[in-house]
């Protein structure tokens, strides 16, 4: 089950990186930007209800989000599956995952996510302390890969 979700997530993230991320960098009205965010969130698989367990729940968000993790034993690369009840948040989390998924611990330690979000004109969402939960998700990813 997890393997299928990881494969679907990887496919979705590739789609997002190829099609939606370039679109985000183009000027657009705010309505189009949010439509795009919600659309790219849909590229990631939905976490089945039975897998929405408390142990995967990322707290500190106004909406609930979940994170599952798998480390490939040979390459040491980290793979994630995530979901959120809120569609815009899921879109933002999907973008975050584009820069995180399939990386080694060393690569993740070097990651400068704010630079990527700056380039996409999404920096304000990353710095919000609460509410959309991006910060909490990032902390969870960091603590997960260290564990």
């Amino acid at each position: 089950m997890l393997q299928q979700l990881i494969a679907d997530t990887a496919t979705g993230l590739q789609q997002i990186a190829e099609h939606e991320l370039p679109l985000l960098q183009q000027p657009a009205d705010w309505q189009s930007k949010y439509r795009l965010l919600m659309q790219l969130g849909k590229q990631l698989p939905a976490l089945p209800e039975k897998m929405r367990q408390t142990e995967y729940l990322v707290r500190g968000c106004e909406s609930r989000a979940w994170l599952l993790h798998y480390q490939e034993p040979v390459s040491g690369k980290h793979y994630f599956v995530l979901d959120s009840e809120a569609r815009i948040v899921k879109g933002l989390l999907a973008i975050m995952l584009c820069f995180v998924n399939g990386k080694t611990g060393a690569e993740l330690a070097e990651l400068d996510l704010s630079r990527h979000f700056d380039a996409l004109n999404l920096r304000p969402y990353l710095s919000q302390s609460r509410g959309n939960g991006l910060t909490m998700m990032l902390q969870r990813i960091q603590s997960t890969i260290k564990a």
Binding site: Q31, Y34, M38, E62, S63, E85, R87, V89, G131, N132
Partner: protein, 404 residues
């Protein structure tokens, strides 16, 4: 139409001149502050600042006089029988923590019951829970009726279990619903209970006359009544306040201290350990002066008109589902967009500079009972204008269009 002049009222609040692009509909979280409240706090620090009740110098005596005058102001505001019945706290939450801690052992014994409603916010739930289990005290909850008000039939049944404490909110923070507090308190008294009212949302709707109301304790926060943050009031009838075990120990609240034991000072000092929020109390007094210039009935009628205008507009936007029954609301409308998480709607409103709150509003058990992930809350105040209602409705229409 109400004869209340909202535009003139709004002029007292400098926040709006500094934030002309925003529609502020989060007054249930905190209200804006009129200039005279800001001035009062500033003037204290600029001209009078000294600690209270302890300096040998005259400056301290002046500060003490100003601080104690603020207590007198609150006493008049609530019509308390005595100034020693007014305890300054940091807010409603601190007041409830003092109550829950202070009533255990002294009033509440193992096997006793406390009764609250399903509309309570966390401040009237969690402090009880912190102590109930270890003291063997049972917390009962009045469920909701179909109008999302306390089910009064079940209330009567729960009162028959003879709760020692009945603790109710005056106005629901999540829905805005005004509880029939007068008759509920009377029933609680008839059942022999000590009564507590959470006035955090209610005090700006209706100021209690604590000698007329059958209420033993009343708690409210300054910052939801046009006052500063960090100041609140625990009112209690003298004989009940005297039974409270102090939550905080320290300076001010003692009469004699040795390393063996301490004896406590008289009320109100006994429940005010440490240096109080002096400037906050003075700011709260200024807020009371401010709000008493206006006719509360006119203000409430005006807020009702804003709610009616908003509700009429909502019915034109497909998919919106108000949880609040506007006719029983003190100024809040909480709603859902069918099939959508409230967070999405709130983010799209934030983008359009409409300040609202989304989520469970510190009332998670209520939303669990409603089986909803939360709601988007629009909290109207007398400084909001009909034009802002229109802008908000347009923003809602644009947001729902995107989510469709």
């Amino acid at each position: 139409m109400s004869s209340f002049d909202a535009l003139a009222f709004r002029q007292f609040f400098p926040f709006f001149n500094n934030n002309p692009d925003w529609v502020y509909l989060d007054t249930a979280a905190t209200s804006q502050k009129p200039q005279q409240v800001i001035d009062a706090e500033l003037a204290f620090y600029q001209r009078q600042n000294s600690n209270v009740h302890r300096g040998a110098h005259q400056l301290s005596q002046h500060a003490t006089a100003a601080f104690e005058a603020a207590r007198d102001k609150v006493q008049q505001f609530l019509n308390a029988a005595s100034r020693s019945e007014i305890i300054f706290t940091s807010g409603t939450t601190a007041a409830f923590n003092q109550l829950a801690f202070g009533l255990m052992d002294t009033v509440l014994k193992p096997g006793d019951r406390i009764l609250i409603s399903a509309l309570e916010h966390h401040a009237n739930i969690v402090p009880w829970q912190l102590h109930c289990q270890s003291h063997g005290v049972q917390l009962d909850v009045i469920p909701l009726d179909p109008q999302l008000m306390p089910d009064l039939d079940v209330y009567q049944q729960l009162l028959a279990l003879k709760p020692k404490i009945v603790s109710l909110t005056q106005v629901s923070n999540a829905l805005g619903h005004i509880l029939p507090i007068g008759s509920m308190l009377q029933a609680a008294k008839a059942a022999g209970a000590i009564t507590i009212v959470d006035g955090a949302q209610g005090v700006s709707w209706q100021v209690p006359d604590v000698q007329l109301w059958p209420v033993d304790f009343y708690c409210f926060s300054g910052h939801k009544l046009y006052g500063p943050t960090g100041i609140g009031v625990l009112y209690g009838k003298q004989r009940y306040l005297e039974q409270l075990k102090p939550l905080l120990g320290g300076g001010e609240m003692i009469s004699d201290v040795s390393f063996q034991r301490s004896s406590f000072a008289a009320l109100p000092a006994r429940l005010e350990a440490g240096t109080p929020n002096i400037a906050g109390a003075i700011g709260l007094a200024a807020a009371i002066d401010f709000i008493r210039q206006f006719d509360a009935r006119q203000i409430n009628q005006y807020k009702g008109e804003l709610l009616q205008q908003f509700a009429a507009g909502l019915s034109q936007i497909p998919g919106l589902r108000p949880l609040t029954r506007v006719e029983q609301s003190a100024g809040i409308v909480s709603l859902q967009l069918a099939g959508e998480h409230p967070n999405d709607l709130a983010m799209l409103l934030n983008e359009q500079k409409i300040a609202v709150r989304a989520g469970s509003h510190c009332a998670m058990p209520l939303f669990a009972a409603l089986q909803l992930p939360g709601a988007v809350r629009f909290a109207f105040a007398p400084y909001n204008l009909p034009a802002e209602v229109d802008v908000t409705l347009q923003a809602l229409a644009a947001a729902t269009e995107i989510l469709r």
